[in-house]
């Protein structure tokens, strides 16, 4: 198989443009439920997704990655920012227009048990979006349901069965078929394999990849499984406490992470190779992720960063392009060959590189 381009091909169109997306949940306390603060689940996130690519969104639980995915599809009323999908600002659409825009953007949820109605048959579940958004006759609808079941590898004879009769992997296939029913262009996959066994995960990931090739889909693939994201994504965004700290092409990120959090995160992933594990140097982060209701002043990561400096406690770094196609939010990762110390090595591979300055 030809290796997918590690950065979006020249001239490839931006399908989704997200700028300064904010999703705050109010905290209400006391008898009068007064608004006393906000949980800043997503706090100023900006990125684009190119047509036909898979953008991986990784981070630990509570970093806001799922909220970000849901906010993009406007499953929440967002606090601020804009989400432009195919030229339409989804964040500003009225209810009727939003409903019309729904078919182009769909979602595959994490827990196939909870996201499928136990009282509906597989055919009802897959057919529901067709009822809502198309005016197919019942024969046409059934033909489409069968076609979708074939596409995701479900046996047609199961059409009248209920979700509880299926295994986890098969249920996830039902969820994928439902997401595909209206020929969407953009699908948010929110931890689609997290609830599945290892041997079943590979089946679902291969299916998602096949469907992408066949139907030209664009994915936002949300996951905490960094190895799987390396397998499926073209570019990867790393989130920490409501912000994106690094957004890079896949190979660049995994070979040479630039942000201190991205480095620590990658070094924490255990690898199925005992010889490698024995010699590996881990960056062990101290402490826990701060609460998004009360993020630290300055850089979000300053409370756990092994390379923290006084400036980090005062000023919040912006996400800037430091190498071609690589965006990092850190005061001490300077654009291009102005880098200080810690990032070296594979830079030589990159274009426009004059040599390393130390």
């Amino acid at each position: 198989m030809p290796d997918a381009a590690t950065s979006p091909a020249e001239g490839s169109r931006k399908l989704v443009e997200i700028s300064d997306l904010k999703m705050h949940f109010p905290i209400r306390t006391g008898l009068l439920r007064r608004h006393t603060g906000d949980i800043k689940a997503v706090d100023g996130v900006t990125f684009d997704i190119y047509e036909g690519e898979t953008l991986g969104l990784v981070g630990e639980s509570g970093c806001g990655k799922s909220t970000c995915g849901r906010a993009i599809l406007r499953l929440y009323e967002i606090t601020g920012g804009s989400v432009v999908i195919e030229g339409r600002d989804v964040a500003a659409l009225g209810p009727e227009e939003l409903r019309k825009a729904r078919p182009t953007m769909q979602m595959v949820f994490q827990d196939p048990q909870a996201s499928l109605n136990p009282r509906m048959t597989v055919a009802d579940i897959i057919g529901e979006p067709l009822n809502e958004h198309t005016s197919l006759s019942s024969n046409e609808k059934l033909a489409r349901i069968y076609e979708l079941m074939d596409q995701v590898g479900l046996n047609r004879t199961f059409a009248n069965r209920y979700p509880h009769e299926f295994s986890g992997g098969q249920r996830q296939r039902i969820g994928i078929a439902r997401a595909l029913a209206l020929n969407p262009k953009f699908i948010v996959c929110d931890e689609p394999i997290a609830a599945l066994d290892v041997s079943i995960q590979a089946q679902v990931v291969n299916l998602l990849e096949d469907l992408q090739d066949k139907l030209g889909l664009t994915y936002l693939f949300i996951s905490h499984d960094l190895s799987m994201v390396r397998h499926i994504a073209d570019r990867v965004a790393v989130m920490y406490l409501g912000r994106i700290v690094e957004l890079s092409p896949r190979d660049a990120l995994y070979d040479d992470p630039l942000h201190p959090y991205a480095k620590a995160l990658l070094s924490a992933v255990p690898e199925p190779d005992p010889t490698h594990e024995a010699t590996r140097q881990r960056i062990i982060l101290q402490g826990d992720v701060p609460s998004p209701a009360n993020p630290p002043k300055g850089c979000n990561f300053c409370t756990r960063c092994p390379e923290v400096q006084p400036l980090c406690h005062q000023q919040d770094p912006d996400l800037i392009e430091v190498r071609p196609g690589r965006y990092v939010a850190c005061h001490f990762v300077k654009p291009d060959n102005l880098t200080a110390g810690s990032t070296g090595g594979t830079e030589a591979k990159e274009r426009n590189q004059q040599g390393e300055s130390q």
Binding site: A202, Q203, N206, V269, D273
Partner: protein, 331 residues
Amino acid sequence: MPDGAAPVLDVRDLKTVFRTRGGEVHAVNSVSFDLRPGELLGVVGESGSGKSVTMMSLIGLLPSPPAEVRDGEVILQGRDILRASPDELRSIRGAKIGFIFQDPMTSLNPVFTVGNQIMEPLRVHLGMSKVQAELRAAELLDLVGIPDAKRRLRDYPHQFSGGMRQRVMIAIALACDPAVLIADEPTTALDVTIQAQILELVKDLRRKLGMAIIWITHDLGVIAGIADRVMVMYGGQVVEQATVKELFGNPRHPYTRALLKTVPSLSGGRAGRLQVIEGQPPILTADPSACPFRMRCTHAFDRCARENPRRRPVGPGHDVACHWDPEPANA
């Protein structure tokens, strides 16, 4: 590793069935293994492979109407604990065998302070006074890396984060200085950076205390970094057992081989497509007299349906339960 030392724990032919309306489920089918002093034995398998049920059976924690430990011996320091009375078992659990569960939130009692819960085994099993127990509890919290241990004893579980709660669970499990520690997916509910902290802690504790550990997980990466020896379970049986290097370097069972290939790696080459194990895990109501993996196995032949393979040695400390021989000439 020399096999000289007598095992701390020796499990022979353990069989556990669940009686259900759909028939008997053979959750654990003739599982045998031993655990040597100071060793960390990793147990890998998917959900339903019987890894947790095996461990619950051997310390008598399964509810028994549905479950029945039908056969086998579990020798802990020379005594068969499967035949121990409920009272004896209670004194073994906690004192001789420590247990860490997957979810630290549901295994800690939310209405008691953490100090209270660490002191409980100390007072029950070791008969310590309140003052002694409190001192020891603070020591234990300190040992597992919780800062300001004395003050934190008065906190409730909800005041701790997930990683900290798991540290508290470890402190409770270690309270009576057990000979064997059983950890059932202790890091599965945690984030990777917190998991890395806990793995580091366990390595450190092993150096300091030297107890034998059984570590159950489905994460091959965790096993590779922490285990001395690995046992792979599938369909309620042990299908392969070897030292960690041997298992990852020279896997023999088709299931182990396939499992290692389905996991994408963080470094190294990136395969075009993930290798898939076709089909679904087995339903264990089926007859246990055939190989449980045969329906998904690429090497299955007629004998696999007739006869459940026994474990046979294929190298030093390496055994496998499979009829198929990858190198028929000479093993």
